[in-house]
C-alpha cells in the first residue's frame, strides 16, 4: 500500500491531541485509573493500523489508546470509556487498559504484560482455520519480551506458521527501569533470531520507515508467510503513567525532541517532499484538536452505566443461572 502521509499525519495528531487532553482530564479527575499515554509513540500505531482492514484482529496492552484510535475506534467512545461512561467502548466496564472495539477488529488490550501475545496467535489461528486472509497484529513493549509468554508465543507462531505480526514498541524503558536492567539483549529483533522468523528493527519515530517495513510484512503475511516481528525504536515522552514524576530519567532536551517527534518529522518531510502544504498540516492539527474537544463534550454527556451492568455481563447469554442467586438462595 502506498504511504498515505495525510492519513498518517491525521491519525498521529488525533492520538497526540487525545493523549494530551487525557493528561489534563486526569489532573481534573474526569478520567480515571492507571493511564499510560503514548505521546511520542504515535508513529507506530498510525503507520501500522492505517494499513490494516477492519477484520484484521489487533491486540494491545496497557498503553493502548493510540492503537485503538488508529484502528478506528471513535474518539468519543474511547474518551467515554476513560470517563467510565455507558457510551464508552466497553460501556465503562473496561477502562484504559481494556479497550475493545470488536467492530473495528480491535480485539482488546490487556493490563498483564505479555498476556496479549498468545491471544493474537489464537486470532491468527482462527483466521487460518476459517479460511480467511486476516492478519493478526499485537503491540507490546520491550518489557514484555522478558516474559515467558513472549517466548512461548514466538515458538508457537513459528512452529505453526501463523499469520501474525508481533510489533514491539521498544521505548527503552519498562516502568522506571531501562532495558539494560531487564536483559543483556539490546535489540528485541535479536532475541527472536533463533526462530528464523522474518524480523526487522526500524526507527519507530520515522513513520514512513515503519509504514514501509510493516507494509512489506503485511503483504507477506496475507500471502501466508507469517509470523514476523517488527521492532520499532521509539521514545516515551511522558512518565510511565499519568502522575508518575518520572524522576528515573532525565527529560529529553526540547530541541532533541523537536528532532525526534514523529509528527514534526513527518510534517518537515511532507513539506520538503511537497506531499502537503504547511497550511494543510496546520489544518489537520486544528481539525483533530476539534475532534478531540467534540469527543470530550460528547463523552461528558453520556451517563454512567447502570448499576447492575457488571453482574449482567459476567456471563455471555445464555448465561444459565448466575452462581450468585444459588449462593443467595
Amino acid at each position: 500500500m502506498a504511504f498515505d502521509a495525510r492519513a498518517v499525519l491525521r491519525t498521529m495528531w488525533r492520538i497526540r491531541h487525545f493523549e494530551e487532553r487525557v493528561g489534563q482530564l486526569k489532573r481534573a479527575d474526569e478520567v480515571h485509573g492507571l493511564l499510560h499515554l503514548s505521546v511520542g509513540q504515535e508513529g507506530v500505531a498510525a503507520a501500522v493500523c492505517s494499513q490494516l482492514r477492519d477484520d484484521d484482529p489487533v491486540y494491545s496492552g496497557h498503553r493502548a489508546h493510540g492503537h485503538a484510535i488508529a484502528k478506528g475506534a471513535p474518539l468519543d467512545r474511547v474518551m467515554a470509556e476513560l470517563m467510565g461512561r455507558d457510551a464508552g467502548l466497553c460501556r465503562g466496564l473496561g477502562g484504559s487498559m481494556h479497550l475493545v472495539d470488536l467492530s473495528r477488529g480491535f480485539m482488546g488490550a490487556t493490563g498483564v504484560v505479555g498476556g496479549n501475545i498468545p491471544m493474537a496467535l489464537g486470532s491468527a489461528l482462527a483466521a487460518r482455520l476459517r479460511g480467511g486472509d486476516q492478519v493478526a497484529v499485537v503491540f507490546f513493549g520491550d518489557g514484555a519480551v522478558q516474559a515467558g509468554h513472549f517466548h512461548e508465543s514466538v515458538n508457537l507462531a513459528t512452529l505453526w506458521g501463523l499469520p501474525v505480526i508481533l510489533v514491539c514498541e521498544n521505548n527503552g524503558f519498562a516502568e522506571f527501569t531501562p532495558r539494560s536492567a531487564h536483559t543483556n539483549v539490546e535489540r528485541v529483533s535479536d532475541v527472536v533470531a533463533p526462530y528464523g522468523l522474518t524480523r526487522d528493527t526500524v526507527d519507530g519515530n520515522d513513520v514512513e520507515a515503519v509504514w514501509e517495513a510493516f507494509g512489506g510484512f503485511l503483504d507477506a503475511a496475507r500471502g501466508g508467510a507469517g509470523p514476523m516481528l517488527l521492532e520499532c525504536l521509539t521514545y516515551r515522552l511522558r512518565g510511565h503513567y499519568e502522575g508518575d514524576p518520572a524522576k528515573y530519567r532525565e527529560a529529553i532536551a526540547k530541541a532533541d525532541w523537536q528532532e525526534k517527534d514523529p509528527i514534526l518529522r513527518l510534517q518537515r518531510r511532507g513539506a520538503a517532499g511537497g506531499w502537503f502544504a504547511e497550511e494543510e498540516a496546520i489544518a489537520i492539527g486544528r481539525e483533530t484538536a476539534d475532534e478531540v474537544e467534540e469527543a470530550v463534550r460528547a463523552a461528558r454527556e453520556s451517563p454512567f452505566p447502570p448499576a447492575g451492568l457488571a453482574a449482567e455481563l459476567t456471563y455471555a447469554s445464555p448465561p444459565g443461572r448466575s452462581p450468585e442467586e444459588p449462593v443467595r438462595a
Binding site: 498483564v112 498476556g115 491471544m119 489464537g122 476459517r130 508457537l156 459476567t314 456471563y315 438462595a329
Partner: protein, 322 residues
Amino acid sequence: MKTTYLKALGEAMARAMRADPDVLVLGEDVAEGGPYGTTTGLVEEFGAERVRNTPISEGAICGVAVGAAQSGLRPVIEVMFIDFVTLALDQLVNQAAKAHAMSGGQLTVPLVLRTQGGAGRRWAAQHSQSLESWLTHIPGLKVVMPSRAADAAGLLASAIADPNPVVFVENKTLYFKSEEVPDDVEPVPIGSAAVLRAGRDLTIVALSRLVDESLAAAERLAGEGIEAEVIDPRTLVPLELNAIVESVKRTNRLVVAHEAVEHGGFGAEIAASVQRAAFDWLDAPVERVGAPFSPVPFSPPLEDAYVPGADEVYAAARAVLR
C-alpha cells in the same frame, strides 16, 4: 451401551467436532491420544489442523485458546494435570474469565479447558492435587466436575456449546471405570445437580470421585437403617444450590464430601451457603469431608490414608446423626 468415562469424553469431543467445524482440540500429545488415550482417534478423523499437538507451553496454549475463541473458534484445550493449570491462570483468570464483562459484552470466550485432578495413583504431590475450588472463586468461569461417564459426555457437549469459558475437571481414577450409558447421549445442562440416591435421614453432597465413595457409605448406612440422600452437583459454578437446600430442609442434616483439601475447599462454600439458607432446618452442624492439610504423600499406605473415601463419609454421616 457399556463405556468408560474416558471413552465417553473422547466420543463427546468427536461428536462436537463433527457437528461444528469451529471446534478444535489443543494440548500436549493430544494427537497421540495423550497419556490416557482420551483423544485417541481424533487426529485420524479430523486431521492435524484441528487436533493440534502443542509444545510444553501451558500459558501460551491457554492464551491461544482465548484468542481463538474470541475470534470465533471453539477450542477445547487439555491441560494434562490440574497441577499445571497453575501455569495457565493468568490467561484463564485475568483474560478468559473477564473478557466478556471487561469488553462491555463485545467479546465472548467459548473455550473449554479440560484437565484432571486427584490422587490415588502414587503420582505424588505435584500430580495429584484437586484445585477446583480456586476456579469457583472466579466470576466469569463455569466449573464442571462430573462423576459419571454419561454426565462427562453430556456436560462436555454442553461445555463446548457454552459461550463462556468452562473448566472441565476430570478425575484420573474414574477414567477406566466401565459404565452403562444410553446409546445416544443427551447433553446435560450446566448447572443442574443429580440426586443419585433418595433418602430421608441426611443429605450427602459429593463431588467427582467422592460420589461413588458416598454411595458406598450410603449403602453401609442403609444396612443400619439410615437412609442417606446422595446429591452430585455435577456443576460447581453455577451451582444448583436449591437442590441441596431443598434436600436439607427434608433431611435436616448435611455432609459435604470432596477429595480436595478440606481447608478452603468448595465444601466450605456449600456449608456456608446451606447453613445460611437452611439454618432453621439444620439439626446438626454441616460436616465436611476433605483431604487433610498436607501435600499428597507419595508412599502408598500414606496416600491411601490421605485420600478421603467411604469410611470418612460414613464417619461424617454418623457425626451429623449424633
